[in-house]
Each structure stands twice: as C-alpha cells, then as structure tokens.
Amino acid sequence: MVPITGPYNMRPPIMKVNVEDSMDIMIVRDTARRASSLLGFTPAHRAQLATAAATLAELVLKTGDAHTINLNGVVNGIKIGLQISSETPWLTGVSSNNILVALRSKLGDLVDEILLIGENPPTILVVMWLDSTRAQANIDDDSE
C-alpha cells in the first residue's frame, strides 16, 4: 500500500499497523508511543498521541473491516510532527463537515490538526506538532 502523504512532507519514522481485532488497538497504541518517542515527544504527549491513534483505530474497527493505521513523521517548514492516518472507505459520500465535527468532538483535545483529504475514499489525518513544550530534553537527532 502506498503511504498516505497528506499536505505535509513525510519523514521517518514511517510505521503502519493493520487493524483487524481489539488486540490490534493495543498494538496501534504501542506503535504511536514508539513513533512519538523517536520524534522526541515527552511521555505526556506520547500518551496523548497514543490515545488519538487508539481512538482512530477503534473507529476503524467498528466498521467491521480490516484497515490500516499509518503513523509517520511529517515536516512543515521547520516544524516536525507525527501524523496518524487511515483511509475510510465507509465514509465515502458522507458530508465532510459532519465527519470533521464528529472527529473534533472525539479527538480535538488530543491533536493539533484533524484533516479529511480525498473523496474516494476519504482519508482521516491527525497531526500533533512538536514544539519546545512538547519535546523531551536531550533528544539525539540521529536516534532513528
């Protein structure tokens, strides 16, 4: 599967988890913690991102079909962040406004951006940007 890029340039880490059952939710949560750790987020912000990823995975699982959650670093100018995304074919034809309202109520406190791109199928992307208040001290930039 081609990774979902969204509006931002990708950078490592690039990870994905297939979500087929409830055990995979734990794996998504764990993978989000690892990816955010590699980018240098503090433990508290890792917890936020892990919860956002798990919540997205739970939404995916409720549709009953297997899907993939993608987790990757993103760059926007000098900013780096973690993007979590999933294609959502079951939302094809649903008003993007309604989807975004629902997603913001679930995930709005956890991430900086919630985006919906494409139409067939639409893809949900959420992003948290790394800033000085969210960065773990003494991160080695070559750690990936």
């Binding site: 734990m26 949560r29 433990p43 508290a44 917890a47 919860t51 956002a52 919540t55 406190d109």
Partner: protein, 124 residues
C-alpha cells in the same frame, strides 16, 4: 541507595504485579491502598516517583494527582498514572491533573512504565 517509589493502587493483586516490575529494575516500592493514604505518605516521606491508579476508593487518581501537583512539597515529584480508563476524556483528565505520563494497563504497560522511568531520569 535505591530510589523509592510510592505506588497508590487499591487492588492487592495489581499492586503486587506493578511492585514486582518496579523492583525488577532496582527500585524500592511502598504501597498505599487509597488516595488519602497516598497523599499522606507522599507528604510524610516524599518519594522519587508516584505511580498512581485512576480508579481508587474515596478519592480517584485524578484528584490525588491534582492534590500532589498543587502542594509545593510534592509538586515536583513525577506522577505516572496507570489506568484501565484510556479513552480521550480520561487521558486528558490525567494529563491536565499534572500527570507526567498516562499508561493503560495492557500487555505493554510494564515496558512503557520502564521506558518512562528512564526518560524521567528515575532509571539510568
């Protein structure tokens, strides 16, 4: 001398499991079985770290964390919340209460707990 951790957990079974994890990496652990006991214990003898369950009798973990973080005597002690409630609302409640990490009690919990201890400088 080994650093001391205060574990606030009402379930004796879970307390024993978490204690074993913490002791396996060389930490000393004392256990409080409810929130008020945990706060008293932290004030009487400030530990290097508090590991706090969310679901506690009398006073929940969010309230305990807020009390510890508001008190100058305990506000600098790192608090890690270990929980079965890991949804968006509960996670944000824990982090807004001042927790330094919020870890679900799942199969990865021990690994994440030890990872966080390293990053907080509790373990080398």
């Amino acid at each position: 001398m080994a650093l001391e951790v205060l574990l606030v957990e009402d379930s004796k079974t879970q307390a024993a499991q978490i204690k074993e994890t913490l002791e396996s990496v060389g930490l000393r652990v004392r256990v409080a079985y409810d929130g008020p006991e945990g706060i008293r214990d932290a004030l009487d003898n400030p530990p290097a770290l508090v590991v706090l369950d969310v679901k506690l009798p009398t006073m929940d973990g969010f309230q305990v964390c807020r009390r510890l973080k508001r008190n100058p005597a305990t506000q600098d002690i790192p608090v890690i919340m270990l929980t079965e409630k890991a949804g968006p609302k509960a996670t944000m409640s824990g982090l807004r209460a001042g927790a330094d990490d919020y870890i679900p009690k799942d199969i990865f919990a021990s690994e994440h707990l030890i990872g966080t201890l390293q990053e907080l400088g509790i373990l080398e």
